[in-house]
């Protein structure tokens, strides 16, 4: 087998993984001491971190629900991490057991874990690839096998784009994905945002994030809106994630504390 050049030579669980840190924020135990130490350090610097993760996960749940209700039966979740509580296939297949889901993550442990969770599920698969390599994702045999790109697909790029620097040209990556999609497809996107924050706050946040292995690339609402180029944004547009079609009005309170902004766009006919 070909080893992708970004894949590590060995699996080092002494190094924190953003996927497992995220699991820790969500209250999971799919993590190791190094992940917990890093996550705790993050919480010390940014107390909202667990709230951010939960709010983002809830956004994912509501978005998948909405799209499944809208008739979408194919999902491509890029940067899926550890798909434990409330993952895409659970939500989608609850609505229609024939819904097909392909998870994509760069973290080999997350991929191995996903594979275990998905064992026996003919309608779901996991692929080890990098969001920065969209052609490889789109041409991957497992993606091709499970997803019919001539039919609408929901592409999920949730809580991952902030690990992609501007140098990696996120707009081009999304354009490549978009060009492969059939009309009626959707893009679900969320990421950390500094919208409305002062320069001082932005500098402080960046200083904190730079200490981690995966520095965050926060983006403004305008930048995120631009990333939906070619898609028609569904109401209410790009918002703090708790504000995106909340279950109850109260759950959208203090929405900017969630730090993540997101939205859902539809590819026109």
């Amino acid at each position: 087998m070909q080893r992708p050049d970004w894949a590590p030579d060995t699996i080092d669980i002494e190094r924190p993984s953003v996927a497992r840190m995220y699991d820790y924020y969500l209250g999971g135990s799919h993590n190791f001491a190094a992940d917990r130490a890093a996550a705790q350090a993050m919480v010390a610097a940014v107390p909202e971190a667990p709230l951010m993760a939960q709010a983002n996960r809830a956004f994912l749940r509501r978005a998948v629900h909405h799209l499944a209700d809208a008739g979408i039966r194919q999902f491509l979740d890029i940067g899926s991490g550890i798909p434990t509580v409330g993952n895409v296939h659970e939500i989608a297949q609850q609505i229609d057991p024939q819904s097909r889901v392909v998870y994509v993550d760069v973290d080999p442990v997350a991929v191995a874990h996903s594979r275990e969770i998905l064992a026996g599920n003919e309608q779901a698969a996991v692929v080890q690839e990098d969001l920065r390599n969209p052609e490889a994702i789109l041409t991957h045999p497992d993606v091709r096998k499970l997803l019919d790109l001539s039919q609408p697909v929901a592409v999920m790029v949730v809580a991952v784009l902030h690990f992609v620097s501007d140098d990696d040209r996120p707009a081009e990556l999304l354009r490549t994905l978009r060009d492969a999609l059939a009309p009626g497809s959707y893009l679900v996107l969320s990421q950390a945002s500094d919208d409305g924050r002062s320069e001082d706050e932005r500098a402080e946040a960046e200083r904190v994030y730079r200490r981690t292995d995966n520095p965050l690339w926060v983006r403004s609402r305008a930048e995120l809106t631009a990333l939906f180029d070619g898609f028609e944004l569904l109401e209410p547009g790009v918002v703090w994630v708790p504000e995106w079609r909340p279950d109850t009005p109260e759950s959208a309170e203090d929405a900017e504390r969630a730090v993540f902004m997101g939205g859902v766009g539809r590819l026109g006919d």
Binding site: M1, Q2, R3, A7, P8, D9, T10, I11, I13, R20, L26, G27, G28, S29, H30, N31, F32, L51, A53, Q54, R57, A58, R61, I82, T84, V85, G86, E90, I91, Q94, P108, V109, A110, V111, A112, H113, R115, E116, D247, T248, E250, S251
Partner: protein
């Protein structure tokens, strides 16, 4: 896990308060309505447990476990649950019981116990599953690494053009075959194969065709050799390793098969190429063999096959190799021998056939070898010419001859000229003119007393430089003789351009003069040569004259001078000169 919102249409105030309390303690994969509905159902169970007689701990355990199963699974989730039950359950539901405080304490304990147990199990399960995933990922990564290492190893040990094993792999396999324990008594063999005149294919049809031809040959050899390792060492060199040879016959059969495989015409990009190969075979016992010696022997043997004309195999011959090594060692020792003064010159007289006078002498080099005794030039000149050492040695001979010849004029009578052989390399070397000019100046030898003998083959090249140099030398007055005339291509064209003074006719024509019947043809050739030479204003010296009869007939033909045993063997200068004093 998730409840339909419609199951309990209107959750009570307590369930709503409970839902609010646990919201945000961990990620809950459900809507607020679903959460309230779930907690409403659990509220019913709690109320029931609080009132049922006898009190059942298991109801509390079940509620705790259900909370964890619904992902309300954090320390905070438990704390807030305990708090909200304690503060509000009895009040919100208007529950009345005799010992409600006591029962409440036991119920909370049971919920906390069930919750803690379930959370512990869940934590352990998740830890186990993530650890398993890490191990699986590690195995996967290691497998991928091994696969890529195997790929790198394949690249490092194979030739990209032909896909055959390369020199590295061949060397490893050969070393392994020789070092394998317990194999000492067995035999191993290699066929070192090289295509004949492959360079011509590259030069005339281009490297692309050359490469395709190599790939074709490689594929044929691989197929023909079966289990034997076929490697490409580079260029058009291939080697076949026979790890278990049954003897030289076995190896010859392998070589014949390989030659046959190469011999079949190859159709390469529309060109039908007929090629052949040469093979050097070495076969020996494993014990005592080492890869370096084996390959060196194979290389020498391949050269024997090449020098015998190619399209054949040669079998290694230790004695022949020994002789060649000795010859090589001898030539390598020439520079040191020159420094130690181990060379000296003998001279052979060139006698006038008109009056018997000594017209000149030919300088012949001798090597007084400290171990081998006096060596004649045929034992070391050939290799000196191949290795280029002839330039150094020839230079010494020329200088020594000039130095000695200058002294001969002191005798008074007309001193003979000295004739010195020049090797091809010496003539083609720039600086010959300066060298000769400097020697004549240093020794004081008159130019007309120096004769330079060159062979016809020297003039075979089309280079203009040697001709120009010889012309300058001739203009100085130096005599130029063509040695062994009549044995080469005898292309007479160069006689037109060259300032030649003399032709030396090869001894084999003279040999024919011994018997009157056989020698008629030789005599006619000689006569023609003489008249041709005279017509061109050249003198003729016959070589290899051994009898008076030969001398007489040469004289009758009109030959000017002669050289050979009949007129005197090579000897030190003073012995020769004694004749003219």
């Amino acid at each position: 896990m998730t409840e339909s919102p419609g199951a309990t249409p209107c959750p009570g105030a307590f369930a709503r308060a409970w839902a609010k309390a646990v919201s945000g303690t961990s990620y809950l994969p459900m809507t607020q309505a679903q959460l309230e509905s779930l907690l409403d159902r659990l509220t019913g169970q709690l109320a029931g447990a609080l009132l049922t007689e006898p009190f059942d701990l298991r109801a509390g355990h079940r509620v705790g476990a259900e909370l964890v199963a619904a992902h309300i699974a954090s320390a905070e989730g438990l704390g807030r649950t305990v708090e909200v039950i304690q503060l509000r359950l009895v009040r919100d539901l208007g529950l009345v019981a005799e010992d409600v405080e006591d029962r409440m304490a036991r119920l909370l304990a049971a919920v906390a116990t069930g919750y803690a147990r379930a959370l512990r199990d869940r934590t352990l399960d998740e830890q186990e599953s993530i650890r398993r995933a890490a191990m699986r990922a590690r195995t996967q990564a290691e497998r991928a690494l091994r696969a890529s290492e195997a790929r790198f190893r394949h690249q490092a040990t194979h030739d990209p053009l032909t896909g055959l094993p390369n020199r590295t792999l061949f060397t490893e396999r050969l070393a392994a075959a020789l070092n394998e324990p317990g194999r000492g008594a067995q035999r191993v063999g290699v066929c070192f194969l090289d295509l004949d005149r492959f360079k011509v294919v590259n030069d005339t049809l281009g490297h692309q065709i050359g490469d395709l031809l190599l790939a074709t040959v490689a594929e044929r050899l691989r197929k023909a050799m079966g289990e034997h390792l076929v490697a490409r060492l580079g260029g058009d060199e291939f080697v076949i390793l026979v790890e278990r040879s049954a003897g030289t016959d076995d190896m010859v059969a392998v070589a014949e098969t390989a030659l046959a495989a190469v011999r079949t015409p190859a159709l390469v990009d529309g060109h039908e190429l007929q090629i052949s190969a040469s093979i050097g075979i070495v076969e020996r016992q494993v014990a005592g063999a080492n890869p370096t010696d084996l390959m060196r022997a194979a290389d020498s043997t391949l050269h024997w096959a090449k020098s015998a004309g190619g399209a054949r195999w040669s079998l290694y011959d230790a004695e022949r190799n020994q002789r060649e090594l000795a010859r090589y060692a001898l030539s390598a020792a020439i520079p040191a021998a020159l420094e130690r003064g181990e060379f000296y010159l003998d001279y052979q007289p060139l006698t006038s056939l008109r009056d018997g006078s000594l017209v000149g002498v030919e300088a012949l080099v001798r090597w007084r070898h400290p171990e081998l005794g006096v060596l004649r030039p045929d034992s070391f000149i050939g290799l000196a010419e191949e290795t280029g050492l002839i330039v150094q040695l020839g230079g010494w001979v020329l200088a020594e001859a000039c130095r000695e010849a200058e002294a001969w004029s002191a005798g008074g009578a007309a001193a003979p000229f000295v004739s010195v052989n020049l090797a091809v390399r010496q003539v083609h070397r720039p600086g010959l003119v300066q060298e000769v000019r400097a020697l004549l100046r240093q020794t004081g030898l008159p130019p007309e007393r120096l004769q330079l003998e060159i062979t016809e083959s020297t003039m075979m090249s089309t280079a203009e430089e040697p001709v120009r140099a010889l012309r300058v030398l001739a203009d100085l007055g130096v005599r130029i003789a063509i040695d062994d005339f009549g044995t080469g291509y005898s292309n007479l064209a160069y006689l037109r351009d060259l300032p030649v003074t003399e032709l030396k006719v090869a001894g084999e024509f003279v040999a024919g003069l011994r018997s009157p019947s056989v020698g008629r043809t030789d005599e006619r050739i000689l006569a023609s040569l003489v008249s041709l030479a005279h017509a061109l204003d050249l003198t003729v010296t016959a070589e290899g004259v051994e009898t008076a009869g030969q001398a007489e007939r040469l004289r009758a033909i009109g030959c000017d001078a002669a050289q050979g045993w009949h007129f005197g063997r090579p000897a030190p200068a003073d012995r020769i000169l004694a004749r003219i004093r």
